[in-house]
Symmetry: C2
Amino acid sequence: MSLAEQLRDEQAAYVAAVAGKLTEFLTGRAAIMSTISPDIDPLMGSISNLVTGGKRLRALMCYWGWRGAGGDAAAAEVITAGSALELFQAAALIHDDIIDRSDTRRGGPSVHRRFSELHGEQGWALDPERFGHAAAILTGDLCLSFSEESFTEIGNRAAAGSRARLIFNLMRAEVMAGQYLDILEEVAGPRRDRAGAVSRAQSIIRFKSAKYSTEHPLALGGALAGATDALLRGYSAFALPLGEAFQLRDDVLGVFGDPVTTGKPAGDDLREGKRTVLVAFALEMATPEESGFIDARLGSPGLGDDDVEEIRRIIVECGALQATETLIEEFGQAAFDALESLELDELPKTALRRLAEAAVSRAA
Amino acid sequence: MSLAEQLRDEQAAYVAAVAGKLTEFLTGRAAIMSTISPDIDPLMGSISNLVTGGKRLRALMCYWGWRGAGGDAAAAEVITAGSALELFQAAALIHDDIIDRSDTRRGGPSVHRRFSELHGEQGWALDPERFGHAAAILTGDLCLSFSEESFTEIGNRAAAGSRARLIFNLMRAEVMAGQYLDILEEVAGPRRDRAGAVSRAQSIIRFKSAKYSTEHPLALGGALAGATDALLRGYSAFALPLGEAFQLRDDVLGVFGDPVTTGKPAGDDLREGKRTVLVAFALEMATPEESGFIDARLGSPGLGDDDVEEIRRIIVECGALQATETLIEEFGQAAFDALESLELDELPKTALRRLAEAAVSRAA
């Protein structure tokens, strides 16, 4: 079997094992919840639905971090860890979509939207939107608790005081802090120094995305397998710039992506008022009139297609898109260089290289 | 030293130790969060502020459950467990207040309200209320994660698969399920069978409150100290009816309580549309016109003082208040009877009796 075949088979087996673990875990929890009341079913259904899809980027980073540090293929600990990461990601998405007022997720309705639609279908009283938000807050809380339950099931390697547990704790706290900085920049950014906008946006993506999506999951897998400090530092030198490139790509897709591929309406990031690195570059590089035009429109829910088109034109013509693509290139290169200098077996190294390529050049 | 003095001193020492533990824990976390950005300080401040006050009912149930099962006075495990319970309660309150659109908590602004006020003071852009909700969702998530971190710090007695861990997990899931059933009844209740309203309301308080506030904390303390199955069953026979009486008292205070003492505006429960046992009795026992009057007004944010006064009159005159007081009496009696039949040392038994008396007859 070639290395490429071995990689493909092993990765597919892991992804299937994580999916199986998630199903087993959620089926068990759903049985307990059903004894309380069948009315709870929609919460469990929403969680199951969310963890069914997705790129499994975090679980895969964790897996190859584990394998690179000498962990056995298909070991129970790393399957459980992957399942905990996926549940955490689902919880984050549920609350994120409420915060961003995003009505779609992967081409379907987001969780709060599902609950407000249920309200409408059933002809319930009071306000459907408010009910949707409340139900989604609780569903996210439940999912966050499940993520923790799953993580604890790893057992000894993730016990109190273990390195893996510290990484998991830091990951959670940092992503929540990063998300707060993100919504803070939406409201405080317009009053803050415009020249500092790019660096503020870069700090936000480091915490809300790069550390969370790639650095910590890779370190977590490594720590579970007993990686040395030197290996964990090497993982970080690779995964942190990779995560930054990944999020910058996400920001570009949030403005220029094809809705069919991304599963999100075009220009959604602009309507949500996200002050991404891409937008920060534009505010800095465009003419004062153009910057004013963008500033006045960011975050208006009723932003029309014409406005989205005009903001796109400004972003392209002032050079902000190019500046962002250059950054993606630089971060990507830094990540690939760091990866090559890592002393890893060929299989995990190749796997990480492919994950990195997909993360940086993806279209969705 | 008399038993009463010993009880007072030991309980005061425990409450102080939990407060100290919370301060130590949050100070450590705040230092980490500050390295990300000083902008995170208001999230940490909101959490510290919330865990400073409160009745410490859950921590105390846990402590006396521990002591009753033979645990040592002032042991580190039960102090840490109490701190985890208080952090969980703070997280639940933060999200609860968003869900219920409650602007006040213990006489001060609730967390989402604090953030929307901060938005106003700083003259930030976009919508202050929306920012407040988003920031409070994230603060609650952070606090929920902290609660779990604190719980894990208990160490071996709360390791994966331990009875204490299972109780903590079930407690979290049940209270979230109970809160969902609560908001579901607000919207679905008017379309459901009115004759079943009292029993639905009773099921809601069992999960969202009785199991969460008294049964599980007491069992958690017992389990940490290695209680027998028989003792845990005895604890449950005491704590479950106690918790039901506690919540029924809360519901009465939510409609009839003195705002000065409760720290909540008068009639807030009615404005929030809570379909409590008290309200369910009224819907069942009042005339059709009066029931219709209540049904039409529950959950209207603009409910005036005159309407609150009229609903109060109906609740009193139709006998719903008396029926609820009778239930409180019955649940309280069942709890006290169960407590007397428990084989416990005099100190924990007296402590639990006093906690129970305070919970059932309180005015705030």
